[in-house]
Symmetry: C2
């Protein structure tokens, strides 16, 4: 038990550097315009890059079998709200930090593909090596694109290293040997994590033994594994309802790599490895966590299999889950927050998805109050930043100092609601 | 409001034909030994049938990459408990009805593949055309197998037509033209439903326009569409954890056809069509029902798509869902029952999965009390049989009369718990 004298020695409540929230967004996106990517590519890939860009321009609007509604009006509204129609915040270091300051965020974790509106502002990783799960391009082009993005990202991180964690793109489905080389490069570049394709499509699934060296290399280098939602079902485009079917399934496809890794015992063999699932919500994990412990020895329905784990996972599965798995649940839903104790409060991290329009930029301060107002302070602080500081090994002293200047106060987070600004109310 | 006089005119509480529960199992399995199937096959397919049976015998134990535990002990226990090591209940009409009587069940809906222990007792549909989703065999063999099973099933139903609804196997992924022919046959055979492959594997997904004539033919013939869980992920077998990965995903794969049909507007175009998802639980649907109404007009996260439904579904999606979709949630879990109001009490049906070992045979009476004890009577009656009577158009008078003799009483269902018999306690 803490003694009263210790409490008296704590900083007074008015000390802003302590009482303000240290907001860390575990889901941000960064990437330069196409011309800049071109310069980061090795020369031999630049003609193919131009061709791929031209093809993408032609295919614009063809996603989901062309079944989307009119998006121009939304883009206009969003550009007016952010005041950044050129999406400079995706690659301009000062502008990025100014946006973070305005949002009250001290640091963020950076994924690729800042522009997903597909409206001509290209800040998307070359050859679709990012959120598109490296589907459809030639392996050598994918690796060239990955190298280009990772080098650019390292430069961008270096402009403000205390506030940025770079997550490299490493398309392991395009070749394990190349992946091992790139993981070595990524570690040297000072990046903090590795994003693997969220979908393996027709390649080997992640429970296959061929990937074991990849998991070991990430664990050895202290690189955190990531998947990020985006790649959805690939087969619906020729039929009706391709868009609602994408929305219905996208979280499943983003969750699948986690199960493939977890249920095949990868954490059993790599005790230092961590896995973060980004922008895929988290509430659905509560159900799986609840179930996994009961599959063996407690379920008549599964008894016929003779045994479920058969040594693949020893000990209590949920314990291993809580030790290794985190959710970068950007703009968490009411359901995500309500399920926090079942997921593990310490396994849930927040993000604002800057600069994606489904995120909360530029109204994050309002939105944090809206979603976290009634969450107890210690839990809100954990989800909004403290857990991320631990997981990514951030410089707590520096960030708390910055939070003392820009971070939301207790009252900002837990005070009475204010009217919803702009477009951000419904989530 | 009902007048007191009406209540006085109601049958007295002691009238067993009314107060007993009319239990209808919406998930049973039936099929004869291989030799009988052979006789139902057209002669030209019998050599291939023998070869396929031999191949299956060789592959026994190889499911999930051979990663299951020892199943012999379980099989011995189960056979001792049921007293039916030869699984005669799967095809012997009198034995089937005796088992139903003992369980307190007046009628059941019959799917294929009674034997899934794979221990040499073959009551599995020819060429894997049943729960295996017709994966891997030649289309002509699949259709021959479907015809053989459907003919056998029609004969089995004819032996006790008031107590049996036959669900035909119609592997629509093996050819739409052949499917339309078989749907015509199935209607003539007096079967009540059609089971389509739960997985389409590499074939066109069910939102594809090519299947539209199938949906229309089922609607016209009054045949209810079914999927039944069983076919799982196909790609994990070469890696670790294939069995837990199967368990983790099997409900998703069984749910997918429902979304593909529903979200592509099939019910919009076929107002008479009904869809039943069997042995896949139901609690997970509550989440999707909750979400689908909010996708359009109420979600900042999805606003960027411009519009979600775009005319594919008009009106409130959940209303259409509740009008057309049912869950044959055999041996429903605590979660399924707890979610009944979110799923729709009138959309949830019970089953005992006879004779599968993950079901509750031969302890269904005990288990119904265990799971439904605290469910209000009107809701318990709906889930346990009343809804199934309506959905499948069963002969209520005959079944209530039979229930008066064999059905559980109010006290059986809602009375105090008794010790768990045999192997059935944990679900």
């Amino acid at each position: 038990m803490q003694r009263v004298e210790d409490e008296a020695a704590s900083p007074p409540l008015g000390d802003m550097s302590v009482s303000r929230y240290t907001l860390v967004s575990t889901d941000g996106h960064a990437g330069p315009p196409a011309q800049v990517y071109r310069d980061y590519l090795e020369e031999s890939f630049r003609v193919r890059f131009d061709e791929h860009q031209a093809m993408m321009a032609e295919m614009r609007g063809q996603a989901f079998g062309g079944q989307q509604g009119d998006r121009d009006e939304f883009k206009e509204k969003y550009d007016a709200e952010t005041g950044d129609a050129e999406l400079r915040v995706a690659f301009d270091s000062d502008r990025r930090n100014a946006a973070l300051d305005a949002e009250g965020i001290v640091a963020e974790v950076l994924f690729p593909d800042a522009d997903v509106l597909g409206a001509g502002r290209s800040a998307s990783s070359p050859f679709g090596v990012g959120l598109g799960s490296a589907n459809g391009a030639e392996p050598d082009a994918l690796w060239a694109g990955a190298r280009a993005h990772n080098r650019w990202l390292a430069d961008f991180v270096a402009e403000s290293p205390k506030r940025r964690v770079g997550v490299a793109v490493v398309p392991i489905t395009a070749g394990v040997d190349e992946a091992l080389v790139e993981i070595g490069e990524v570690a040297n570049l000072g990046l903090g994590g590795v994003m693997i394709p969220t979908r393996w499509f027709d390649n080997a699934p992640y429970n296959h033994p061929m990937y074991e060296p990849v998991w070991a290399a990430c664990a050895d280098a202290g690189l955190i594994l990531h998947t990020h939602s985006g790649a959805g079902p690939s087969e619906y485009a020729e039929g009706n309802g391709a868009l609602p079917l994408y929305i219905a399934e996208v979280q499943f496809w983003a969750a699948r790599p986690l199960w493939a890794v977890f249920f095949s015992g990868v954490f059993e063999r790599n005790p230092a490895l961590k896995f973060v699932v980004a922008e895929s919500g988290a509430y659905w994990a509560a159900d799986m966590i609840d179930k996994m412990d009961s599959w063996e020895g407690n379920s008549h329905a599964l008894e016929k299999f003779g045994g479920i784990w058969n040594g693949v996972i020893t000990g209590k599965p949920s314990d291993q889950f809580h030790e290794h798995v985190y959710f970068a649940a950007s703009t968490p839903t009411v359901k995500d927050i309500a399920a926090r104790h079942d997921i593990g409060v310490g396994n849930l991290m927040w993000g604002n998805d800057l600069p994606h329009p489904e995120g909360t930029w530029p109204h994050t301060r309002w939105w944090v109050n809206e979603r976290f107002r009634d969450v107890p302070e210690v839990e809100a602080r954990a989800i909004l930043g403290e857990t991320a500081i631990d997981v990514y090994g951030l410089d707590r002293v520096t960030l708390e100092q910055l939070a003392g200047e820009i971070g939301p106060t207790d009252d900002d987070v837990h005070g009475p609601p204010t009217p919803a600004p702009g477009m951000v109310a419904a989530h």
